[in-house]
């Protein structure tokens, strides 16, 4: 993971629980650097250790940490210099979700160590689509759920997420049914 991701976890914990909690989590995770460099790749284990340490320190499940992190992610990236870029992905909930994969593809072509998931939107009707989630990483579906919820907040859209298909021996990827209704202004 790039440092930007770990930095977002740090930012979330400090924002929600304070500097002291972050220090305890950082030490528990065995992270020595006081902060992460956004465009430097770090081993995935660093992110996993941070999530595990946060789970232990904050007495919540790792899934809860990941979902909260997913929800936090876009607003963090937007407020740390990537707002305009995120703005080009789409101007509404569905467009954004649909363009996300292409955006990832473009990023991957420029950053060889960037290994994003593949997200395919299959529109069912005006208010529903299937989101196909392919990832070489395991256990990050809560992050995706948080991300979708965060996007819903960003575009003032009520979002309902149902995990239709779980990746396993019979399925190579997860499928979510996303139902969305734009809130009235």
């Amino acid at each position: 993971m790039y440092g930007l991701v770990n930095g977002a976890i740090q930012d979330l914990i400090i924002h929600a629980h304070g500097e002291a909690a972050w220090e305890r989590i950082r030490q528990r995770a065995g992270v020595t650097a006081p902060r992460f460099i956004a465009m430097t790749p770090y081993p995935d284990s660093v992110t996993a250790d941070l999530v595990a340490a946060a789970s232990a320190e904050l007495q919540v499940t790792a899934e809860q940490v990941l979902e909260q992190f997913g929800q936090w992610w876009l607003s963090y990236a937007a407020s740390h210099g990537y707002g305009p870029l995120i703005g080009t992905i789409g101007h509404d909930f569905v467009t954004f979700m649909a363009n996300l994969n292409e955006f990832h593809d473009r990023l991957r072509s420029m950053f060889p160590r960037f290994a994003p998931p593949r997200l395919v939107v299959e529109v069912l009707d005006e208010h529903r689509f299937h989101l196909h989630y392919h990832s070489h990483r395991l256990g990050l579906t809560p992050f995706l759920i948080g991300l979708v919820r965060g996007l819903g907040q960003r575009f003032r859209t009520e979002v309902d997420i149902r995990h239709l298909q779980v990746r396993g021996p019979d399925h190579d990827h997860d499928v979510f049914l996303i139902t969305h209704h734009r809130q009235e202004a």
Partner: protein, 476 residues
């Protein structure tokens, strides 16, 4: 780009290979199709969304103006600028500038403008409400934007880190400064401790030396005491015997007178004259008396030495301060007898005072010796001076005053005279510890007071105040 290139290097383009209108719209979402009247008759979906006026087939010049050069006024004139890079600014959206080129279509009845928005920063994209799927997939604008954004973010990150580094540097400098200050303070404390240690060591050496001198004095006093004892006894025996011999001499003289003519009497008279017996008879009692007086003085000195050098005890004991002072003055006599007269006024009713007598003696000795030195310094001008030692009771205190008619203490050094190692005397005459130790003994050890009054040119009087009870100071 010229088609000649294909003619030379590759097979010629197939006449049947064409994108068609839909293909052009897909590949060039910002393209414009212009007819012979220079009206916009076709455009890409994205540019149509950005400029709704395009749906009305407007004149190209009503919508766009060429930046840097005027737009050709006739269809034919466009031939002169085809294939050249043009910048078309939208008259209706300030932020929208298209970069591209005009190309004639195969029938030479229309022109195609192939281009895309000029983008220098992401803010403009956001302002135009464009997203990445508004650009053709092969368009490098998206990649350029991503790189631009990443570069900006990385730069911001670097700036942030530089600021953090600067803060850390500043913090480090502050910590180094604080550490340096702390080290300097520790260094000062260490130097003070070393000086204190040196002072204590010197005090210890002095105390050991004094103790050795005291022991030696006590030993010598003891050794002298015995011969002085029998010298005195013998002299008293001689004195008594002289009285008896005088009676014998009187009888012998009567006998010699009675038998004056006898040769033995003549011989006796001659022998008496030769021995100057009359002189011896008159002087011998004086000589013996002086000898006894000297022996008594030696005995007094020896006794004083023994008392002065008596080892001290841990607890203070009720002490006759007058006796202690007399003893000390006896010991110190050699220091002052050549320069000063000693006047004592010791209060007879002085009660026993709790005291470490040996240490008290040392204080009195120091003050008397200092007094003698102060007088000696002006003896050449003023002759012999006077040392006055007075004792008296003052409420809960016993006071001892030791005054001299010496030089007096200059105002400038009065604050420092009790400091350790402070002295105005030449090296070897004084250690600079006397008054410091005196104050320490009186104030710290006895909970008393030591002060002085002085007039330059007239003399100094030190006042020792000792509490009559161990808690005397608090009671006072």
């Amino acid at each position: 780009m010229s088609t000649d290139f294909f003619a030379e290097e590759l097979p010629p383009p197939s006449a049947s290979l064409g994108l068609g209108a839909a293909g052009i719209c897909e590949a060039f979402p910002f393209h414009l199709g212009v007819d012979g009247d220079l009206r916009v008759v076709q455009c890409g979906a994205t540019i149509a969304r950005l400029i709704p006026q395009l749906h009305e087939r407007p004149l190209l010049s009503d919508i766009f103006e060429a930046r840097g050069q005027p737009l050709p006024r006739s269809f034919a004139a466009f031939g002169t600028i085809s294939h050249r890079l043009l910048r078309l600014g939208c008259r209706h959206r300030e932020a929208l500038v298209l970069r591209g080129q005009f190309l004639p279509d195969a029938s030479l009845t229309h022109l195609l403008f192939i281009g895309s928005p000029e983008v220098n920063d992401l803010a403009r994209i956001v302002e135009l409400e464009l997203s990445i799927n508004d650009f053709a997939a092969q368009d490098m604008v998206n990649d350029y934007l991503i790189l631009l954004q990443t570069q900006q973010a990385a730069l911001a990150d670097a700036n942030h880190m530089a600021e953090a580094l600067e803060l850390l540097n500043h913090d480090l400098e502050e910590r180094v400064a604080a550490r340096t200050k702390s080290l300097e303070e520790a260094n000062i404390a260490l130097r003070e401790q070393m000086a204190e240690r040196a002072r204590i060591e010197q005090e210890l050496r002095l105390a050991q030396k004094l103790e050795s001198v005291g022991q030696l004095a006590a030993g010598i006093a003891h050794e002298i005491n015995t011969p002085i004892q029998f010298i005195g006894d013998n002299l008293r025996f001689v004195a008594e015997s002289l009285g008896q011999l005088e009676q014998v001499y009187t009888a012998m003289e009567a006998l010699r007178t009675a038998a004056a003519e006898r040769p033995e009497a003549v011989e006796l008279s001659r022998a008496m004259e030769a021995a100057d017996l009359d002189y011896a008879r008159s002087e011998m009692p004086n000589a013996v008396a002086q000898g006894l007086e000297g022996v008594d003085r030696v005995a007094t000195l020896v006794r004083a030495l023994k008392e002065f050098s008596h080892p001290d005890v841990a607890e203070s004991v009720p002490t006759d301060l007058n006796q202690a002072i007399r003893t000390t003055l006896t010991v110190a006599r050699n220091e002052y007898k050549y320069v000063a007269e000693l006047v004592t006024d010791l209060a007879a009713e002085l009660p026993p005072t709790p005291c470490h007598v040996s240490e008290f003696n040392q204080v009195v000795l120091n003050l008397v010796v200092n007094a003698a030195h102060a007088i000696a310094d002006v003896q050449a001008q003023r002759g012999r001076g006077t040392i006055t030692v007075t004792t008296r009771r003052a409420g809960p205190w016993c006071e001892v005053l030791i005054g001299d008619t010496g030089t007096g203490i200059p105002e400038a050094i009065r604050e420092r005279i009790f400091d350790p190692f402070f002295t105005t005397k030449p090296v070897g005459r004084c250690t600079g510890q006397g008054l410091y130790l005196a104050r320490s003994i009186i104030v710290d050890r006895h909970k008393g007071e030591l002060s002085f009054t002085s007039t330059v040119g007239q003399g100094t009087t030190f006042l020792i105040r000792l509490p009559l009870t161990p808690a005397g100071k608090e009671a006072a």
